[in-house]
């Protein structure tokens, strides 16, 4: 399947079956993923990643989830800035490949098309392997960074994560031109 037909297919999936197999990605986010995210992952992989993040850190009516804290965008920033490390990009990518393989082997579907229970089963399966567990842990750590780091890094928009946890950030806050990877 080429990239374009995949996008069309998943696009139609979103509109047609969103109540059954919710991708948890709204149109704006999807468009964001398609245009902004780096080419180090395919569009399909970006979507798998976003869905994994939302499963690990779901949105709630009274609490932000991966979507609200811009976890996918944050991860891309962290893995593509001037001092980022290609080996870590490979690590993330390999995990996504692994996730979709388990999903295909178990349910003959993409991870993004699985039910919440099936997604949980796939991730728990992945967790039984040492490298899989490390991968999930790494994603969770990046999620918490997106939740609680300074908004200059691309997560925690308007301090949404700090507000949720009544956390008072320190001062002086870092300005954008002093992001650690520019120093």
């Amino acid at each position: 399947m080429n990239r374009r037909s995949f996008l069309i297919q998943t696009g139609s999936t979103i509109t047609a079956t969103s109540t059954l197999f919710s991708l948890n990605i709204d149109a704006a986010t999807l468009s964001n993923l398609q245009t902004i995210q780096g080419a180090w992952l395919s569009q399909q992989q970006w979507q798998t990643l976003a869905v994994v993040q939302e499963h690990l850190f779901p949105s709630e009516s009274d609490a932000p989830g991966a979507k609200e804290i811009q976890a996918t965008h944050y991860l891309n920033v962290m893995l593509t800035h001037p001092k980022s490390d290609a080996t870590e990009r490979d690590l993330i990518k390999n995990g996504i490949v692994q996730i979709d393989k388990i999903a295909q082997d178990s349910y003959s579907k993409y991870f993004t098309l699985l039910s919440t229970e099936q997604r949980e089963a796939v991730l728990r399966h992945l967790e039984t392997e040492k490298s899989g567990k490390q991968w999930i842990r790494l994603l969770l750590e990046y999620i918490f960074e997106a939740l609680l780091s300074d908004p200059i890094y691309g997560g925690n928009p308007n301090g949404i994560g700090w507000k949720w946890l009544a956390h008072q950030p320190g001062f002086p806050a870092p300005p954008k031109n002093k992001r650690y990877y520019l120093l």
């Binding site: 960074e145 890094y153 946890l165 008072q168 320190g170 806050a173 650690y180």
Partner: protein, 563 residues
């Protein structure tokens, strides 16, 4: 004969600052060589990613690793590069060194710490030695640190209080969180002495520095106001202002060159552009923190120093010290207390806890054994770094937590109570299996052999650490804390390091003489924590500062007094 400088100081932290300051004030020309960059208050922000998760203020472990040897369960030794393990033994590579990032919990040693062997006798498996100086010799310099660095506190009397020449601290205590009075209350009920902990932090503007902003992010962060008494803010800025002190940042000293007589003739370093440079001085002072100081000496053989500078007795790097001890924590759930008290406990943890107990500085408890050296228990806020706090919740009882259960746990952690931590400090006994050598194969980005650190520990560290941590935990319980845990571990705290070039009167058993001059090299002094034969049961910084002031006065004298 002319020299580039009177004194060349290698390293700009708590060991180097007092020397540069004292010599420059006395009118001698001083060059400070610092491996890292020269950052100032305007460069420091409260950015958890920068300071603590990406460690941008310490050397890159890929380019500059250490190799650590740890004991295996079978009693053998296994080694790993810190680039692989991520275990960081760097503590702050910039002008001012790790003193930029300290919490500034300042305790003096006590008279007993200078003569542990005489007072308590030898300990099987350890090489405990008395110091060649006494507390009385160092006291004037502890006092000097209070005034020059700026130490805030409030004196109370307690059984293990050390004598002091001045009535009280020059600065009143920094602002305190309401939780401190509940520590006092619990200690009162337990007949313990809750000591207001002295801090190297200015409560208000003084010494041409601003006071504390109480924004809650202190330890591990560099201070953006100058209130924290780092070597840079408190000493080097003033040293430079005399016109006699020059600081060269981004200067990595690679080797110290000595001649046929054993005397140092030049210091070799690589500048920012990787160019090799030479500089000479009448006197060379090394203060790179214990591990790197030993490494530099070992990397500097000469005609009279085949095994490395000042190492003809193979003592350089030996008897490395960390800090023994334990830790613990408990949570005061808001729901458990009256609304008024809960509101107090909920207050922002910007103001400090500032409490210690030293009732067990000597343990005289028959259920524990013979009368022996104990230590200090500090009470501190849980470090506020929110990403670190949140990620600690990921580990569940069986496997990883994620989804709503993880979110619930994180929410409860942040919102339902205040945590109080204890940190217990006891002696890290000097033993034959804790030392620095050069790694035979791993090199840093300049091609220099890196330090290989064996981190064996004496079981006594653990026993005393457990004992103290349990005593601290009892106070937490008395306060009404829940989920109280306490523990000790054998792994070294990498931010509390000393020893490796112990001082003493006998050149056969020590590297330095009582004035911290190398027995074998007449123009070499070492002024970081390397000199300590035993470390005491408190963090080292105040003692390193005080001793460096003491040695600096000796150097002034050797050069002919004030100009």
């Amino acid at each position: 004969m002319s020299y580039d400088f009177d004194v060349c100081v290698i390293g700009s932290g708590a060991g180097g600052g007092p020397v540069a300051f004292t010599l420059a004030k006395a009118g001698y020309s001083v060059l400070v060589l610092e491996k890292g960059p020269w950052l100032t208050e305007k460069d420091f922000f409260k950015d958890e990613l920068a300071c603590c998760r990406r460690n941008i203020y310490t050397s890159n472990l890929r380019e500059e690793p250490h190799v650590v040897e740890m004991e295996t369960d079978e009693g053998g030794w296994t080694s790993q590069s810190t680039y692989q393990s991520g275990w960081n033994f760097w503590n702050g590579n910039c002008v001012g060194g790790s003193s930029n990032f300290m919490s500034g919990f300042f305790h003096r040693l006590k008279p007993v710490d200078f003569k542990l062997r005489t007072v308590f006798g030898s300990i099987e498996g350890a090489d405990v030695a008395d110091w060649p100086i006494s507390y009385a010799d160092l006291e004037p310099y502890y006092d000097k640190v209070e005034r020059e660095i700026g130490v805030s506190g409030r004196l109370i009397s307690h059984p293990h209080a050390e004598p002091r020449s001045r009535q009280d601290f020059p600065y009143p205590p920094t602002a305190e969180h309401p939780i401190s009075k509940y520590i006092d209350e619990a200690c009162g009920q337990m007949d313990l002495h809750s000591i207001p902990m002295p801090r190297a932090i200015l409560p208000y503007s003084a010494l041409e520095r601003q006071g504390c902003s109480y924004n809650g992010y202190c330890g591990s962060y560099a201070c953006a106001t100058g209130a924290k008494g780092s070597s840079r803010a408190a000493l080097l800025d003033r040293a430079v202002a005399t016109g006699f002190c020059q600081i060269r940042p981004n200067a990595m000293v690679s080797r110290i060159i000595s001649d046929q007589t054993g005397k140092i003739t030049a210091v070799e370093y690589y500048d920012k552009n990787g160019q090799r440079q030479l500089v000479d001085a009448k006197i060379v002072v090394i203060a790179c923190q214990a591990i790197e100081t030993a490494r530099l000496l070992l990397n500097s053989p000469g005609p009279k120093h085949q095994n490395g500078l000042a190492n003809n007795n193979h003592l350089v790097g030996k008897n490395l010290l960390f800090a023994g001890g334990g830790a613990g924590s408990g949570r005061l759930p808001y729901a458990k207390f009256s609304p008024a008290k809960a509101a107090e406990l909920r207050q922002f943890a910007g103001p400090f806890v500032n409490r210690s107990i030293q009732d067990w500085y000597i343990i005289d408890d028959p259920t524990f054994g013979v009368r022996q050296k104990g230590g200090t228990i500090d009470f501190v806020h849980l470090h506020p770094n929110p990403i670190a706090r949140a990620t600690r919740q990921i580990r569940g009882r069986s496997g990883l937590l994620w989804g709503k259960p993880l979110k619930e746990k994180v929410k409860a952690h942040f919102l339902e109570g205040i945590y109080l931590k204890i940190e217990a400090f006891c002696d890290w006994l000097p033993i034959p299996d804790c030392y620095v050598t050069l790694d035979p194969s791993v090199k840093d980005k300049w091609g220099l052999p890196v330090a290989r650190i064996r981190v064996g520990f004496h079981v006594r560290n653990l026993q005393v650490g457990w004992y103290l941590a349990e005593r601290g935990a009892e106070v937490l319980k008395q306060m009404g804390a829940e989920n109280v845990i306490s523990f000790a571990a054998g792994a070294p705290p990498t931010n509390l390091v000393a020893g490796g070039c112990r001082f003493g009167n006998d050149p056969k058993t020590s590297v330095l003489n009582a004035n911290c001059r190398a027995h074998e090299v007449e123009n070499l002094y070492i002024t970081d924590g390397s000199f300590m034969p035993t470390g005491g049961s408190v963090p080292y910084t105040w003692t390193i500062y005080a001793n460096a002031f003491r040695v600096a006065e000796n150097i002034v004298e050797q050069l002919g007094g004030n100009k």
